[in-house]
């Protein structure tokens, strides 16, 4: 296992690796904005969770949040950074945060860590097989399960990486969730959303199992932005015959959402990657390389 927690320096301050999860307990994760999942409907239904979708739809922020929240709930969580389409805003940039929480990050070692080359580590295939070997419902229904999250690059180009891993997935042993932000170019209406889904599905060679409504306009998001996005994604869900698994929303706005508006749970997100002027500043959970 190539784990950045074990083999790369977890801190650039002292250069010494720290053991996963040694520094922080669950209460510390809560303080940093990642409390245990209170709504069991947010738990994965399968031991492998694939997050794919359009470029910039929020997959990585969602993946990091989901991993930390599951970790806070007591699960063993591993995340594979499968973004091979860009060298920015990837979950590997949160490696210190993930390592401190005891979430195992699988990303290329050495200088390939910083590249956008199509490096697919062989252990990812093994990890998917291993995770999918048990009885899924028993494994994932209760806290304490072993969960594998695959954070995939954007658009069909990013989803292509899944096709090369196709043989490792046990049929019905994974959740393949498409993250959709209807404020993004090309996915603002049903036609665009359908096209995105079809293209990602074709490139991945896997059938999506659900949708995540993650419509936002960064700090300019309001309740109507989230509700409008949910309505559009729900329309796609009806035509595609897929469930809306969850609505994702900034933690600062989540309390203002009327609960009766949704037929699915809401995942409140703490922004991790953010913008360059906020990283490493005061309350930011993240620093740069």
């Amino acid at each position: 296992m190539v784990s950045t927690a074990g083999q790369r320096p977890a801190s650039r301050d002292d250069g010494r690796p720290r053991p996963p999860g040694a520094a922080n307990g669950h209460s510390d994760l809560s303080q940093r904005g990642f409390p245990p999942l209170a709504d069991s409907r947010l738990r994965p239904r399968q031991p492998v969770v694939i997050l794919a979708g359009g470029l910039g739809s929020g997959k990585t922020e969602l993946a990091i949040n989901l991993c930390l929240r599951l970790r806070a709930t007591g699960d063993r969580v591993r995340i594979a950074d499968l973004d091979i389409v860009k060298p920015f805003n990837r979950c590997r940039e949160a490696r210190e945060l993930l390592a401190d929480a005891g979430v195992e990050l699988i990303a290329p070692p050495g200088e390939q860590f910083f590249s956008d080359l199509p490096v697919i580590l062989p252990e990812i295939r093994g990890m998917i097989r291993e995770a999918g070997a048990g009885e899924p419902e028993e494994m994932t229904a209760e806290p304490g399960a072993g969960i594998v999250v695959l954070d995939v690059g954007g658009d069909a180009a990013g989803a292509r990486v899944l096709a090369s891993l196709a043989g490792a997935f046990r049929p019905d042993g994974y959740e393949f969730l498409l993250v959709l932000n209807t404020s993004r170019p090309f996915t603002t209406d049903l036609a665009g959303l359908s096209k995105m889904c079809d293209e990602v599905r074709a490139a991945a060679g896997l059938v999506p199992t659900g949708l995540i409504a993650n419509t936002h306009l960064m700090d300019e998001t309001d309740v109507e932005t989230v509700l409008g996005g949910y309505r559009a994604v729900s329309e796609l869900a009806r035509t595609a015959g897929l469930p809306v698994r969850m609505v994702a929303c900034d933690e600062r706005l989540a309390p203002a959402l009327p609960p009766s508006s949704f037929d699915c749970p809401v995942l409140a997100l703490t922004r991790v990657l953010g913008l360059p002027e906020t990283r490493g500043a005061r309350k930011s959970p993240l620093t740069y390389v």
């Binding site: 470029l55 910039g56 860009k86 060298p87 920015f88 805003n89 910083f114 590249s115 956008d116 658009d155 180009a157 404020s183 993004r184 170019p185 090309f186 306009l217 960064m218 300019e220 913008l275 360059p276 002027e277 906020t278 990283r279 490493g280 500043a281 005061r282 930011s284 620093t287 740069y288 390389v289």
Partner: protein, 349 residues
């Protein structure tokens, strides 16, 4: 939108009818966006076989009077430099977008500001200059893209939009309705078919030295006019008495603003001069702000390039201190604040 997407959409709204490109990280999203959008608006999207080919396609297409542009990143920009000189010599309006990555050589794929000299002096050979615009947000990237097309036509000259990998990749809300491109001007010089008129000849070859010098003088007057008319600068947190004046552009300016705010809470007075136009450089604004400051620091994602322009601007007030990170390392606001704190407190003593 991502910065790269906003640049692509702004170019369309500015009336760009052809985009030639060769993919290179970290700006390939511009090409991906335009591969979808250009066909929708009846424009041309063409991936060349290299950046050399792309820049020469621009040379030919610009000669027809159409609004044309490309986007690339540092090593690709170097490959375009020869054609850029020819385009400047032929006085053609072309917009070049350079989303800088770290170097020299292939360097790395992360953000940097090491192409300042290349952009603000001469990318290619010969006696020419180009306006250089540096955005520090996604909205500004869109607005400056539109301006770049207008400036290119106003001066019949290449214009460079100099962004860095962070600006290209960051996502922010954008208001596209606020973009107000100028109306493309009449182009009696364009090669549009010479039926009924004398042929237009577009070239950069002048064998008679006196003729060429005359042209050099005319170009030089054009560049002086840019210096007089095209300076753009943002002043942040200006006061009558400053513990430290900061000069930074692009992504570094965003980080510096946060650092200035952090130190403001500690009672230290810092201000920022952010050049938006790197050529022409806002020398007068830097000098005027520096008169209120005990010390000046230039901050870059390089080991020091713009700092030379700052020193030139400071004249008797200089030289500037310097803080820089490079190689793709982007400092955090806390790290920058730490450097500022040391400089400001040193100045206070």
């Amino acid at each position: 939108m991502k910065g790269a997407e906003a640049i692509g959409e702004a170019a369309i709204r500015a009336g760009a009818s052809a985009y030639f490109c060769y993919p290179i990280t970290p700006q390939t999203e511009v090409a991906e966006y335009l591969a979808k959008r250009m066909p929708q608006v009846g424009g041309v999207f063409l991936q060349g076989e290299s950046e050399v080919a792309v820049a020469n396609m621009l040379f030919g297409a610009a000669a027809t009077g159409k609004r044309v542009f490309t986007s690339t990143s540092s090593p690709g920009f170097s490959l375009m430099a020869e054609a850029m000189s020819y385009i400047a010599g032929a006085e053609l309006p072309v917009v070049f977008i350079n989303v800088m990555r770290c170097g020299p050589g292939l360097g790395g794929v992360l953000a940097a500001q090491g192409d300042y000299w290349q952009a603000t002096r001469n990318s290619g050979h010969g006696d020419y200059r180009c306006p250089v615009l540096a955005p520090c947000s996604v909205q500004e990237a869109a607005e400056l893209t539109v301006q770049a097309f207008d400036l290119a036509e106003k001066y019949r000259n290449p214009v460079i939009l100099l962004a860095d990998g962070m600006i290209g990749q960051m996502m922010e809300p954008v208001s596209l309705d606020s973009l107000t491109p100028g109306v493309p001007s009449e182009k009696p010089w364009a090669t549009t078919g010479c039926r009924g008129r004398d042929p237009n000849i577009i070239k950069s070859l002048y064998l008679d030295p006196h003729v060429l010098e005359k042209m050099n003088l005319r170009l030089s007057a054009k560049y002086r006019r840019m210096v007089d008319e095209e300076v753009q600068v943002e002043l942040y947190n200006q006061r009558d008495r400053l513990d430290l004046l900061v000069v930074a552009y692009g992504t570094m300016a965003r980080i510096c603003k946060t650092a200035i705010d952090i130190l403001g809470e500690e009672g230290l007075h810092l201000a920022l001069v952010r050049p938006i136009s790197l050529f022409p450089f806002p020398a007068a604004a830097v000098h005027a702000a520096a008169r209120h400051a005990t010390r000046v620091v230039t901050v870059e994602l390089s080991q020091g390039q713009m700092v030379e322009d700052v020193d030139l601007a400071l004249r008797e007030l200089g030289p500037s201190e310097f803080f820089g990170r490079s190689g793709g390392v982007v400092p955090t606001p806390d790290e920058v604040a730490g450097a500022f704190r040391r400089l400001a407190k040193g100045a206070c003593q």
